[in-house]
């Protein structure tokens, strides 16, 4: 049971060498996003959305979206490079670690980064005066779920390719549409039915809805159970797929 922790520890040691370069963007991106969308666009959205001011409405969505972006950032190029260029996974596979340990340790590190990014966003949002409920910290748990649901299948994808041009395809045709059509910036009800299904099928919208309920202190109700179930399904399927793709590369 301790083996994945050793792998996590390795990634943390690595992070200790590089955190300064990522820390700034972790703080600056929420600031710019809040200024641009919350304050800037918000000024034009008179009367708010669903009964709350626009900035209060988009902050929880942005937190979930940040979690997803962080998960993609960690599960794409780093994973590809650990297979293709730096061969870190192969070095780990020669030690007494199992495929699940190598994968689980790295995923745990990704979730650490996800929660860190979401927490930075939450802190920035608090500075903008958008915190109104004691349930708000629950957005971090939602961020964790969204991070897992996005990172696990992405790791499986990154373990299946040998060139980063496929990652660019993923960014354009999965990450971007998901960011736009998942109810982060406007309610999905504004979308044509076909695009609404992008929201329903992919994990982000479910995270956005849960995050918004927590931030605004609303009871998620039965729909909340569905959201959690969809996210857990993405986590489980992504994990199983990632284990099998990693095994294919590491045990041949």
């Amino acid at each position: 049971m301790t083996a994945p922790l050793y792998v996590l520890e390795y990634h943390l040691v690595n992070y200790r060498r590089t955190w300064r370069s990522s820390a700034l963007s972790t703080l600056v991106i929420p600031l710019l996003t809040l200024l641009g969308f919350g304050v800037g666009v918000g000024a034009y959205v008179r009367g708010g959305v669903e009964g709350v001011p626009y900035i209060d409405w988009i902050v929880p969505g942005l937190i979930a979206s940040t979690a997803m972006q962080a998960a993609f950032g960690e599960a794409t190029w780093p994973v590809l490079s650990y297979f293709e260029w730096l061969k870190v996974y192969f070095a780990q596979a020669a030690a007494p670690l199992r495929v699940g340990d190598i994968l689980g340790g790295h995923l745990a590190f990704m979730l650490f980064r996800v929660v860190l990014s979401a927490a930075a966003f939450l802190a920035m949002a608090a500075a903008f005066g958008t915190l109104h409920s004691w349930w708000a910290p629950l957005t971090l748990v939602v961020a964790l779920l969204v991070g897992f649901a996005a990172a696990a299948p992405t790791m499986a994808y990154a373990a299946s390719i040998t060139s980063d041009s496929y990652l660019i395809i993923l960014m354009r045709f999965a990450v971007l549409p998901m960011s736009l059509f998942s109810g982060v910036f406007f309610p999905v009800e504004s979308l044509p039915v076909l695009l609404r299904w992008v929201a329903y099928v992919f994990p982000l919208w479910h995270g956005v809805e849960l995050s918004r309920d927590a931030m605004l202190g609303l009871a998620p109700g039965l729909l909340g159970v569905v959201h959690v179930a969809v996210l857990l399904a993405w986590c489980a399927a992504g994990w199983l797929l990632a284990v099998s793709r990693f095994r294919r590369r590491l045990v041949i």
Binding site: T2, A3, Y6, V7, E9, Y10, V13, N14, R17, T18, L86, K87, V88, F90, A91, Q92, A93, A94, A95, P96, L97, R98, L250, V251, I252
Partner: protein, 307 residues
């Protein structure tokens, strides 16, 4: 005494391609054992099966008395692996490369630091302990990889082409360190296509070709069995070396015509050279040398280039 590696009829297939085609190997504790062969002979596939990162397709394989199909992690806990291509962490320092790797074996942080310092001393990298890996030379990186392979005090160290790509000074330093390990009683298993490496390091070796073992023995016994004691290399000042082959008939046990020279495999090199002079063939150059493992190797696996 039990074998550290025990293989019978070991097979590895990748789809239709058979990389290892039924080999029998036994490696005893404390010996240095080599797998020799041209590229594509199946050496690395064999090493990966021994390292328990590649399940055998068929046959029997026991490592340290355990079954790699079932006990992979337990076996890997007692192995040291130095892969063909360095997979060090270029972002981490030299010392961190050892300490983080030691943690994968459940070694405490304090003990990991102690071993790291000791091993860096051993591979002569102590003064580089806190520098990053990226600017190190190829030889230093290889020594660091060897140190990393020793961090769990393994019963057996697997080295896949340990000196490929290194300059002569770096190679000799690596050999010297490996020889030290061998003297300390560490079992070494290595692959190489350098004959001098095999002669320097291996007590016993097998020559592989096309996934099979084509010869087995100590370097000396292989030379005795598959070559002669000495080799005479003759160069004639002509485009057509083969024209001289008939005139050399009867000298030595075997004659090989190459595009640029003729090799005579003989017991007595000087005697053979005298005989060449007696026949007034006047070659442009005559070189008498001892037979080497290279002669055995080329005899067994042929001179055709394998890419």
């Amino acid at each position: 005494m039990t074998s550290l590696i025990h293989a019978r009829g070991l097979v590895k297939r990748f789809g239709d391609f058979t990389a290892v085609d039924g080999i029998d190997v036994d490696v005893r504790r404390g010996e240095a054992f080599g797998f020799l062969g041209p590229n594509g002979a199946g050496k690395s596939s064999t090493m990966r099966m021994i390292g328990c990162v590649s399940p055998p397709t068929g046959g029997v394989l026991e490592i340290l008395g355990m079954d790699p199909r079932r006990d992979g992690p337990a076996i890997r806990a007692k192995l040291g692996v130095c892969p063909q291509l360095d997979n060090l962490d270029i972002e981490l320092t030299v010392r961190e490369n050892l300490t983080t790797y030691a943690r994968f074996f459940g070694i405490s942080r304090k003990e990991a630091r102690r071993r790291a310092d000791e091993l860096l001393e051993f591979v002569q990298l102590a003064e580089r302990a806190d520098s990053k890996v990226e600017p190190l030379s190829g030889g230093m990186k290889r020594r660091l990889t060897i140190a990393r392979a020793m961090v769990n005090q393994p019963e057996m160290v697997l080295l896949d082409e340990p000196t490929t790509g290194l300059d002569p000074q770096a190679r000799h330093l690596v050999w010297e360190r490996l020889f030290r390990l061998k003297q300390q009683g560490v079992t070494l298993v290595l692959t190489t296509h350098y004959m001098d490496e095999a002669e320097q390091l291996c007590d016993r070796l097998v020559v592989m070709d096309g996934g099979r073992i084509v010869a087995e023995g100590s370097p000396r016994s292989l030379i005795e069995q598959y070559s002669t004691r000495e080799v005479v290399e003759l160069r004639f000042a002509t485009e057509d070396q083969a024209a001289y082959a008939d005139k050399l008939a009867g000298i030595g046990e075997r004659l090989e015509v190459l595009p640029d020279r003729i090799l005579l495999y003989v017991a007595d090199g000087d005697g053979a050279a005298d005989e060449v002079n007696r026949r007034s063939l006047s070659p442009a150059s005559v070189l008498v040398r001892r037979s080497s493992l290279e002669d055995v190797f080329l005899h067994l696996t042929g001179r055709t280039l394998v890419d």
